[in-house]
Every structure is written in C-alpha cells, then in structure tokens.
C-alpha cells in the first residue's frame, strides 16, 4: 500500500458507520469496515468498493485483518458506547492513527476520552444544537 495514501477504518456498520465508509470510499480513500453481523453491510452504498470484514472488534486479530495499523483515521461507530470507549483507548495505546472519531450516545462518558487525537460525536448534543437553532430562528 502507498504509505502516503490515506486509509480510513470504520468499526461498526451502523447507519453512521456505513455512511462514513461509503463517503470515504466514494472519495477514493482506501476504506475498510468491520461488523460482527454481515447483514449490517446492506447499509453501505451500492458503489462502496472498500473491504468488508465480518468479525468481533473486541478481537485484535479482526482489527489487524482490517489493517488498523495502516489507518490514518479510525471511526468507531458501534451501537455500544462502552465498546466504543474501549476501542478508542485501545487505538490510542497500540496504533498510530492521528484521528480517532468516536460516536457516543451518552455524552457524559466523553470525559474518558480526553485526548487530542480523539473527536467525540454525540448525536443527542448535535440534535439539540439543531433544535436550538430552530428555536432561535422561529418566532416563538
């Protein structure tokens, strides 16, 4: 693999994970996605051309198979916040990806992920932000 080329690895083919993987693939970025359930890959765009790995992300062999060591961006989007936190900590400790993006439903847990390499996406905070914008723009 060309070392200069970016690579994105997505853990969890949730709606968010599949959308991220599809976008990266569409942009010509080398992409791999992991999910424990093969059926979850149905959420990927038909044009997705990256790797699909069926396996448990708790198992480091699965992560290695998806080439986590080469990833410049790791997107962690399983439906389990605790698993996402564990995988983020594991990524920081053992791998060199400069960007680790983690989806957390419970934003309060982001205090466990205070590191410059990590960005937390909290759907409830984003949704509330949108609601607040509506609130501010509408005449109430």
């Amino acid at each position: 693999m060309n070392k200069e080329k970016k690579m994105t690895m997505v853990i969890g083919s949730s709606r968010l994970g599949a959308a991220i993987a599809s976008l990266n693939s569409e942009q010509g970025i080398y992409t791999s996605i992991i999910d424990i359930d093969e059926r979850a890959f149905r959420k990927l765009d038909a044009s997705y051309s990256g790797y699909k790995i069926v396996g448990n992300a708790l198992d480091r062999l699965t992560l290695e198979k998806a080439r986590i060591s080469d990833a410049s961006e790791i997107d962690i989007c399983t439906g389990d916040d605790n698993l996402n936190i564990y995988l983020a900590c594991l990524s920081l400790k053992y791998y060199t990806a400069p960007n680790v993006i983690v989806r957390l439903h419970d934003e309060a847990k982001s205090i466990l992920l205070e590191d410059p390499r990590i960005t937390v996406i909290a759907p409830s905070a984003l949704s509330f932000g949108m609601y607040k914008n509506l609130w501010d723009t509408e005449d109430r």
């Binding site: 708790l58 198992d59 480091r60 389990d80 916040d81 605790n82 698993l83 936190i85 564990y86 900590c89 594991l90 400790k93 419970d106 309060a108 847990k109 205090i111 466990l112």
Partner: protein, 223 residues
C-alpha cells in the same frame, strides 16, 4: 477498606459476604433490578439499582477516593469502562475486574486496570496443574503469568531426598518458599532437610519451570 462492587450475580454475592466483616465499607451497584433485590435481601445491605458504567451512578454512590472497585459484569468492555471511570474520575485506588477473553488480561493492564482476572485462563491453568500424569506436580500462576508457583511431591528415589537445602544448592532461578510436611508448614533455611513425602512449594519464572522440575525430579543414580 472502602470497596465498590459493580455488577455480577453469584460472584457479587460471594464478594459481598467475603468483605462484610465489619472493617470494610461496601457500596454495591447492580443494574439488574432482580439481582439487586436478591443481593440486598441475602446480605442485608442496600444495593443501588443503576448502571455501573454511568457517571451519574458513581456520583449517586458517592465513592470518591474509595480503596477498591471490583467490576463483575459479563461484558469485558462494560468492566473496562466501569474501572476507568473509577480510576480516572473518582480516584479509586485499585481496580479489579473479570474478563471473559483471556487475551484482554494484558491489554486491560496496559490500559491502566490493575488486576484483570480471566476465569477461563485460571481454570485452564488449574486443569493443567491437576492433570499432571504423575500427580506429583501442581502449578499456579500469579501476577498474570509472570510468576509460577510449583508444588512438587518428593519421592524417596529423588536425588534431592534426604538432603539439606545447603547440600542441594537450589539453582538461583528458583526459590523454595515453603515445605508442607503433614501437618506442618515449614519455612525452610539452609539446614532444613528434605524428606520423602514432603511437598515443596517453589516460586520461579514460567520460563524456568521445566528445568526446575527436571532438577528436583532427578533420580539418585541419574547424571
């Protein structure tokens, strides 16, 4: 000692009973309402029915700067988050948790969990120890396989039998920590003589265990 016990069923029940000696302050959290009720009734203790991986549970439990957290949930990543919250945000001094995948023992330690315990790993070690064909040797690993304790039953024909430790010159990679001579436990010194039917309890590194056993089981006429 101030101890927080999170999750678990029978393990939690046993841990509560083991630490309920009047000297310890116990706080128990369990997010299964039925188990929480059973634990509470059996041990006459109040159990918080809430998720032990949530920040607010720790705040409600008021466990800042406790001495020990024990996480006993089924899921390894739940135990990880519970211990990490305890250590990083509530400054609980020591974190112990169970892990179902033995490969997680080293990883959890590297990520700051003091003592991850894998029951399948311990079970395998115990089975290996118990299944020695001659039934002379039992082993126990501690500190996550960094140290191995080997029990060796001494037979009359062994070269080491009827010799003092001084004469025996135990290799420097091992140490006889005690001798069980029914019903006595002897802490050995140089003049202690090993006799038939003694059980030697020897500590060594796992990599030295094979040559240690070979050394102790060497027969009298063997070179």
């Amino acid at each position: 000692m101030k101890i927080l016990i999170c999750g678990g069923n029978t393990e939690a029940d046993y841990a509560i009973r083991s630490f309920s000696d009047g000297h310890n302050k116990l706080v128990v959290i369990n997010d299964d309402a039925n188990i929480a009720k059973i634990l509470s009734e059996r041990n006459s203790i109040s159990v918080l029915d809430t998720d032990p991986t949530k920040l607010y549970s720790f705040e409600i439990a008021d466990v800042f700067e406790f001495d020990l957290v024990i996480a006993l949930m089924e899921n390894d990543s739940d135990n990880f988050v519970c211990c990490k919250l305890a250590k990083d945000k509530f400054h609980i001094k020591k974190a112990i948790c169970t892990v179902s995948d033995p490969n997680h023992v080293d990883i959890f330690q590297a990520l700051g969990i003091d003592s991850p315990i894998s029951s399948s790993y311990l079970l395998t070690q115990r089975i290996k120890g118990e299944s020695d064909i001659e039934n002379l040797i039992k082993t126990l690993s501690i500190e996550n396989d960094k140290i191995v304790i080997t029990e060796v039953k001494i037979k009359e024909e062994f070269d080491c039998c009827n010799k003092s430790l001084m004469e025996l010159q135990i290799p420097d990679y091992a140490n006889i920590t005690c001798i069980f001579r029914n019903p006595q436990v002897i802490i050995p010194h140089g003049t202690t003589r090993i006799i038939a039917n003694d059980t030697l309890v020897v500590a060594s590194a796992p990599s030295d265990q094979k040559r240690l056993i070979k050394y102790l089981k060497k027969e009298k006429d063997e070179k």
